[in-house]
C-alpha cells in the first residue's frame, strides 16, 4: 500500500492562526510521512489543538498552505477533511451512545438497499464485523455503544475511521483515559494501521508512548515549532528540553516567599467516587495536603490526573466519599460551594466560559455576583453606588481593561475576563483562593499580570492553591508543589527541590520521592 515516492502524506507549511487577543500559531511547519506514526507534543496552550483543528477543517488558517497526498488543498470543513481521508479521533468521543456499534461506524453512510431508500441491517452488520475483525476486536456489532468501556468506544472510533478509507488518522490524547493493558492494545492497533500504510498523528503527554510507538515527532511551544526529530535520535530528556525551554523573560519572577507556619486548610485522605456523569473525571484516592497562610501551593499533573477534581471536591462542588478537611484549625464539612464560600474559600474554575462567566450579563454584574449580599439595603435592594465603587476599585487595583463596567463580559479579552473572575473572589476577602488553570487561554502579557496578582495576594496572607498544566507556571509561582497521577499523590517538592525534570517525572512516570 505504502507508496514509496518521496512526497510526504502531509506537509503543513508556514501555518499561522490568531484569535482575538491570542496568537495561537505562528509560522508552524508540520510534516508527516506515509505510513508513519508521528508524535505531536507540547504543553497545554502550545498550539497542538489549533494545528489539528486546522488540519481537520474546523478552523481555517490565517496564513500558510497544506500539501496533502502530494497536492495543495484547502480544507473547508470537517466533512471535507473526512472525504479526503483525514479523520480525527477526539478525546471526547463523538459516538451516539444509544445506537449500536454498527450504526455508529457507518453513521451517515449506512449501506442501503432498494436503491438506498432503506438501510440494510445485514450489510451493516457484516461490513462492521469485517472491520472489527481486521482490528482483532471480538465484539458483536449490534452491541449498543453505551454498553462499551471507554477503550472499546475508542476502538469503535478507529473502526469508523477505517470504514471511511482514511489515509491519515489524528488521535488526540487517545491513552489518557485507558488502563495500562488497554494502552498496549491501542498501541498494537496503531502498529497494524501503520502496516496498512495509514499515517497516524499521535498527540500525547506520555513520553514513554512516544518513544515506544512513534517514528518521529514534532514539538510545539507557544505556537511555534520548538523542534522535531526521528525517535531513534532522541531521548525523553531531550524531548522535555524541547517542550519546556522557553525564554524565562516572559514570566513573572517571584522574589519573596510569604509563607507562614499557620495552616489554613488541611485535607486528609480525600477520596472521591468515579463520577458516572463525567466519564472523563478521575476518582481521587487518599489525597492529603495542607496549605498555609501566604503560601502558594502548586498542584501539578497531566490532563485527567485528577487536579481539577481536587479543587472541586474541596470547594464542595463535587461530593467526596472519604477524607476530612480542617479549615483554620477546625474540622469542617463542606457540602456545597456556599459552605466553602462562607468559610472564606474562593474558586477560580478551570473553564472560564462554562463555569465562571455569565456571558449574558455586564462586567459589573459578573464582578459583584459573590459580594452582592454586602451591598444591599432594605428588602435586598442593590446599592448601585457601592456596586460601582467596588467595580471601580478592582478595575484600578487589577488593571482590568474595559470600555465600561456595563460592557458585556464576553467582549473583554481572556486576560481581563480572568481578572474579573479573580476580583469576584477578592471582593469576598477570602482566606483561601483556589485557582485552576489561572492563565489558560490568555496572552503572555496578561499572564505575567495574573502571576503578579497572585504573588500580591500571597503577600497579603491569602493561602493560594494553584492548579496548572503549565510547568513553567508551577515552577515560577509555587512555594511548594504536589504532583498527582491517576488520582493519587505521587510527589511533594519544596521550592528548593523543584526542577522541571523532577516534576515531569512525577507527573508522567512512576512514583518519585524527592
Amino acid at each position: 500500500m505504502s507508496q514509496s515516492n518521496g512526497t510526504p502524506m502531509l506537509a503543513m507549511r508556514g501555518i499561522s492562526k490568531s484569535f482575538p487577543g491570542v496568537k495561537a500559531l505562528s509560522d508552524v511547519t508540520f510534516t508527516v510521512g506515509r505510513g508513519e506514526i508521528h508524535g505531536l507534543l507540547g504543553e497545554n496552550g502550545a498550539g497542538k489543538s489549533t494545528l489539528m483543528k486546522i488540519l481537520s477543517g474546523v478552523y481555517s488558517p490565517d496564513a500558510g498552505d497544506i500539501l496533502y497526498d502530494g497536492a495543495a488543498v484547502t480544507i473547508a470543513s470537517p466533512h471535507h477533511a473526512q472525504q479526503m481521508g483525514i479523520v480525527t479521533i477526539y478525546q471526547e468521543f463523538t459516538l451516539v451512545p444509544s445506537l449500536t456499534i454498527a450504526e455508529n461506524v457507518f453513521i451517515g453512510r449506512e449501506p442501503g438497499m432498494a436503491g438506498g431508500a432503506f438501510m440494510s441491517w445485514g450489510k451493516l452488520r457484516e461490513q462492521t464485523r469485517a472491520i472489527l475483525q481486521s482490528l482483532n476486536i471480538d465484539i458483536d456489532p449490534m452491541t449498543p455503544v453505551s454498553a462499551l468501556s471507554v477503550a472499546e468506544q475508542q476502538m469503535v472510533e478507529i473502526a469508523r475511521a477505517l470504514s471511511m478509507q482514511s489515509k491519515l488518522i489524528v488521535m488526540d490524547e487517545p491513552t489518557s483515559a485507558l488502563s495500562e493493558s488497554e494502552v498496549q492494545q491501542l498501541l498494537g492497533i496503531c502498529r497494524d494501521l501503520k502496516a496498512k500504510g495509514i499515517s497516524i498523528i499521535f498527540i500525547t503527554h506520555h513520553l514513554e508512548e512516544v518513544i515506544h510507538l512513534c517514528d518521529s515527532l514534532t514539538v510545539l511551544r507557544d505556537g511555534q515549532n520548538a523542534g522535531g526529530a526521528a525517535v531513534e535520535d532522541i531521548t525523553i530528556d531531550g524531548i522535555i528540553q524541547m517542550m519546556v525551554g522557553r525564554s524565562a523573560s516572559d514570566l513573572f519572577k517571584r522574589t519573596t516567599a510569604y509563607a507562614t507556619d499557620e495552616v489554613v486548610m488541611r485535607v486528609n485522605g480525600l477520596t472521591t467516587a468515579k463520577n458516572i456523569n463525567h466519564l472523563t473525571a478521575t476518582a481521587l484516592h487518599d489525597v492529603s495536603f495542607e496549605v498555609r497562610r501566604g503560601e502558594i501551593l502548586g498542584i501539578a499533573g497531566l490532563v485527567g490526573a485528577g487536579r481539577t477534581e481536587i479543587a472541586r471536591a474541596v470547594f464542595g462542588a463535587d461530593k467526596f466519599i472519604g477524607g476530612t478537611v480542617e479549615f483554620m484549625g477546625q474540622p469542617v464539612t463542606i457540602h456545597s460551594p456556599l459552605d466553602a464560600i462562607q468559610l472564606g474559600i474562593g474558586l477560580v474554575p478551570e473553564d472560564r466560559k462554562q463555569q465562571a462567566l455569565f456571558l449574558s450579563l455586564a462586567t459589573r454584574e459578573n464582578l459583584t455576583i459573590t459580594a452582592l449580599g454586602k451591598m444591599v439595603r432594605w428588602l435586598n435592594f442593590v446599592r448601585f453606588d457601592a456596586e460601582r465603587a467596588l467595580v471601580e476599585r478592582y478595575r484600578q487595583a487589577l488593571n482590568i481593561r474595559m470600555f465600561s463596567p456595563e460592557q458585556t463580559i464576553g467582549n473583554l479579552s481572556g486576560g481581563n475576563q480572568q481578572k474579573v473572575v479573580i476580583a469576584r473572589w477578592l471582593a469576598m476577602e477570602p482566606k483561601l483562593l483556589i485557582v485552576d488553570e489561572p492563565t489558560r487561554g490568555i496572552d503572555v502579557a496578561a499572564k505575567a499580570e495574573v502571576h503578579q496578582l497572585l504573588d500580591e495576594l500571597a503577600s497579603r496572607g491569602i493561602a493560594i492553591v494553584m492548579i496548572s498544566s503549565e510547568l513553567p507556571e508551577i515552577i515560577a509561582m509555587s512555594d511548594r508543589v504536589i504532583t498527582i497521577r491517576e488520582g493519587r499523590l505521587t510527589g511533594q517538592f519544596t521550592r528548593a527541590e523543584i526542577t522541571e525534570e523532577r516534576l515531569m517525572g512525577a507527573m508522567a512516570l512512576a512514583m518519585v520521592t524527592a
Partner: protein
C-alpha cells in the same frame, strides 16, 4: 478588546419588539383611524391584561431557562375554587363535607384563595423540577393535564357563575374615567416585577442562574431554591389571573384559560426574553403582550378571521426565537 463599541445588532435586538410594535400600530392606524381611539386602546390593553399578568410571572421562569405550560389549567382551578368559596362553598362542601358558607361574600378572601392555589401549584411543580430532576417542560406538561382535570373534577365540569358587583369590580370595573381595573393591575405588577428584577439581589440571581447555572452554583447561589421560587411566582400570577378572569366574565369555568400558555409564552418570547435564559426583561414582556393584543385587535378591525390571527402569532413566535438565535450567534464571535 477589539469589540468595545456598542454593537448595533445587539442594540437592534433590544429594541426590535418596540420598533415592531410602533410599525404595527402605524399600519393599523393608517388602515383604520378608529384603531387609535382611546376606547379602543383601553380595549386592547384590557384584552391582554390577564395573559399579560401571567406573562410577567413567566418572564421570571424563562429568564432561568425554564418553562411553565400549566398556567392556563392552574388559572382554571384557582378561578373555580375562589368563585366557589365566594358563593358559599357548595362544591367544597360536597367534596369535603365541611360547611364553609360563613366564608362567602368576602372578596379579599376569595382573591387570596385564588392566589394561594396558584402558589401551591407552583410550589408542587417547582419541587418536582428541583428535587426529582424532571425537566420543567415535562413537569408542567403533566401539570397542564393534572390541574385541568382537577378543575373539571371540582365543579363536575360545570361553571360557577353570577357574582355581585364587589367581586366583578376587579374584572369589569373602571377607574380614572375609562381605565379598566385589570389594566391598572397589569401595569402595577409590571412595575413591581421590573423593580425586583432590576434593582434587587434576588433579581440579579434570577438572571445569573439562567445565564449559567453551573457558574451560579460555584458562585455560592442556591440554584435549587431560586429555581423553585420562579415557579411559585408564575403560580401567583396564574392564581391572580384566575380571580380576575372569573370576575371579568362573571363566571368561572373549568375550561377557562385553555391555550393561555401559548399566548403567555409568546408574549415573553416576542418581548425579547431568551428561551435559553439569562437575557430579557419585564418591559419587553409588556411590549410583547401589547403587541399580541394590537395584532389581534388590528386584524379584527380589518375583518381578518380569528383563525388567521392564530397563524400569524405562531409565525411571529418562530421569527422572534430565530432573531434571538441570530443575536446569540453574533455575540459568540
Amino acid at each position: 478588546m477589539n469589540n468595545n463599541r456598542i454593537d448595533p445588532v445587539r442594540l437592534l435586538g433590544q429594541f426590535a419588539p418596540v420598533i415592531f410594535l410602533v410599525v404595527l400600530v402605524l399600519i393599523f392606524y393608517s388602515l383604520n383611524p378608529r384603531f387609535l381611539l382611546p376606547l379602543n386602546i383601553w380595549n386592547v390593553l384590557r384584552q391582554v391584561s390577564i395573559t399579560g399578568l401571567i406573562a410577567i410571572g413567566m418572564t421570571f421562569v424563562i429568564l432561568t431557562a425554564g418553562i411553565d405550560l400549566s398556567v392556563g389549567s392552574l388559572l382554571a382551578v384557582s378561578a373555580l375554587i375562589c368563585a366557589d368559596v365566594y358563593k358559599g362553598g357548595q362544591f367544597f362542601t360536597r367534596i369535603t363535607g365541611l360547611d364553609i358558607s360563613a366564608l362567602g361574600g368576602n372578596v379579599a378572601l376569595a382573591a387570596t384563595i385564588a392566589i394561594s392555589i396558584g402558589i401551591l401549584g407552583g410550589l408542587l411543580q417547582g419541587t418536582a423540577i428541583t428535587r426529582l430532576g424532571v425537566p420543567a417542560f415535562v413537569v408542567t406538561l403533566g401539570g397542564l393535564s393534572v390541574f385541568r382535570g382537577a378543575a373539571l373534577q371540582y365543579s363536575n365540569g360545570g361553571p360557577i357563575s353570577t357574582f355581585d358587583e364587589a367581586y366583578n369590580f376587579w374584572g369589569q370595573g373602571k377607574v380614572f374615567g375609562d381605565v379598566p381595573v385589570p389594566v391598572i393591575l397589569f401595569i402595577l405588577f409590571a412595575i413591581l416585577a421590573h423593580i425586583i428584577l432590576r434593582y434587587t439581589r434576588y433579581g440579579r440571581h434570577v438572571y445569573a442562574i439562567g445565564g449559567n447555572p453551573e457558574a451560579a452554583r460555584l458562585s455560592g447561589l442556591n440554584v435549587r431554591r431560586l429555581t423553585l421560587s420562579v415557579y411559585v411566582i408564575v403560580g401567583f400570577f396564574a392564581g391572580l389571573g384566575g380571580f380576575i378572569l372569573s370576575s371579568r366574565l362573571n363566571s368561572s369555568e373549568a375550561v377557562a384559560g385553555a391555550g393561555y400558555e401559548l399566548t403567555v409564552i409568546a408574549s415573553v418570547v416576542i418581548g425579547g426574553t431568551s428561551l435559553f435564559g439569562g437575557r430579557g426583561s419585564v418591559l419587553g414582556t409588556v411590549v410583547g403582550s401589547v403587541l399580541i393584543g394590537v395584532l389581534n385587535n388590528g386584524l379584527v378591525l380589518n375583518n381578518v378571521s380569528s383563525y388567521v390571527q392564530q397563524i400569524v402569532i405562531g409565525i411571529i413566535i418562530v421569527l422572534a426565537v430565530a432573531f434571538d438565535q441570530f443575536i446569540k450567534s453574533r455575540q459568540k464571535r
